[in-house]
Point group: C2
Chain length 228, copies 2
DNA sequence: CCTGCAAAGATAGTGTTACTATCTTTGCAG
DNA sequence: CTGCAAAGATAGTAACACTATCTTTGCAGG
């Protein structure tokens, strides 16, 4: 069975849909490699053009600028992750087990999904850890939000928030706890590898420890009422 | 009583100490205004030079580049906040009360501290919320960390971690919980004001709600063992 | 087979950014 | 009054972030 997974993206994210052409797919594929390698600040359309054997002007036909491309990549990632969450929690009844699965998906290294040929998810995951927040930490965030550019992120947050409420219908902060899990899954990973004294995982550098920390955080918070 | 508070900064943060001259202080003062107004991406030394009536070359004598200036501002902020934490928790015995004070300091709007004439802390606080993580979310983070540029942040995290252990000596993740509190105090604030559906504070937009969320998060986590 | 049209390639050009260099002026300390 | 450091003035460069325009390619419909 060879099923190619295609994620339908918001049209405001691009000028021309990169999934619809070879050049477009190469832009996605190689931009992921290049951002991973040099970081988003050092990433330019010029360098990308050279890497894919095209021209700057060619890339500008797909994306307004590099920041839009970053938003596209993050939106793609969160859409893909939402799909993974829905897929992996399908047929699971216990909301606690579902939540644990979500935490695992968020905090654990992702293998490349061969159903999406032009995207290497494991590298994209690394990019999202380091560069993901830069998509929205800007002066333009409200305008971009009006164009629904962050919808995949917000959708995922809403799904996790619902699971939290399923576990604990009286918990007061489901959405904030959801966004906390999402961000901390990434920040603790970044800290563990780069600023280890900000974490308790410096010795082993094991993602499983992050999972345990997040599980502890979440389930202590939402179970507390029943505990009192 | 007129005491001017001066924070001793790591010498690697600058080429020439901005606290030691009028021009230096103007660079700090106006860069805070300019970054607040236009965001870090749009901030340039050229614009800053015009605003302070000096030249680009003049600013380059103080800071290698704008990223170093951002690291300086964040380091200054965390040093100042550490001082506030120590000052405000002085003579408090109960570690839980101390922790609550820390959460309040992290998550609540700061009034301008008149003891530091060239820094407007309330605006700096806003900058740290939006731009703070960009100081370390780079490819250079390990080198910068070796130069101890993030020491103030790490020191604050260590202090909070210690308070957590005072509350609950057996808690396993004091440092990760500390960095979670610090980051979430800012992220939840940013989300509340810019991407409200990621939080549970959209209606009131009240920082006191963030404080309550963080207190709930922290004290559920660290009290759990005694609860079982 | 020709026509038309869209995608992509090729090339050029502009204003801005991120610096670096050098020379002059200012102010003050010895 | 001399010397020296800080700051001002000015210039220059390579890279970056675009925009414009013109040509080529490929292939779809008539």
């Amino acid at each position: 069975m060879d099923i190619q997974l295609q994620i339908k993206m918001n049209e405001k994210l691009f000028l021309r849909d990169p999934e619809q052409s070879e050049l477009g797919k190469k832009i996605i594929q190689e931009s992921i490699q290049l951002i991973y390698k040099n970081g988003f600040e050092a990433f330019t359309f010029k360098k990308l053009a050279i890497d894919i054997g095209s021209t700057e002007a060619g890339i500008y036909r797909y994306f307004e600028n590099k920041h839009r491309l970053l938003i596209y990549l993050t939106a793609w990632y969160w859409s893909w992750l939402e799909y993974q969450v829905i897929f992996q929690t399908n047929n699971i009844q216990d909301p606690m087990v579902k939540l644990k699965m979500v935490i695992k998906l968020l905090a654990t290294t992702i293998e490349d999904d061969t159903n999406t040929r032009h995207v290497d998810e494991s590298i994209l995951h690394q990019i999202i850890i380091t560069e993901g927040t830069k998509a929205y930490l800007t002066k333009r965030v409200s305008e971009d939000n009006k164009d629904q550019l962050f919808k995949p992120y917000k959708d995922l947050c809403a799904i996790i928030g619902k699971m939290i409420l399923e576990c604990s219908p009286n918990y007061q902060y489901p959405k904030s706890l959801a966004s906390t899990i999402i961000e901390m899954a990434h920040f603790q990973n970044f800290f563990m590898n780069n600023l280890p004294s900000l974490t308790d995982f410096a010795d082993n550098k094991d993602e499983a420890d992050i999972v345990r920390f997040l599980e502890d955080l979440v389930f202590s918070s939402i179970k507390r009422p029943s505990c009192l």
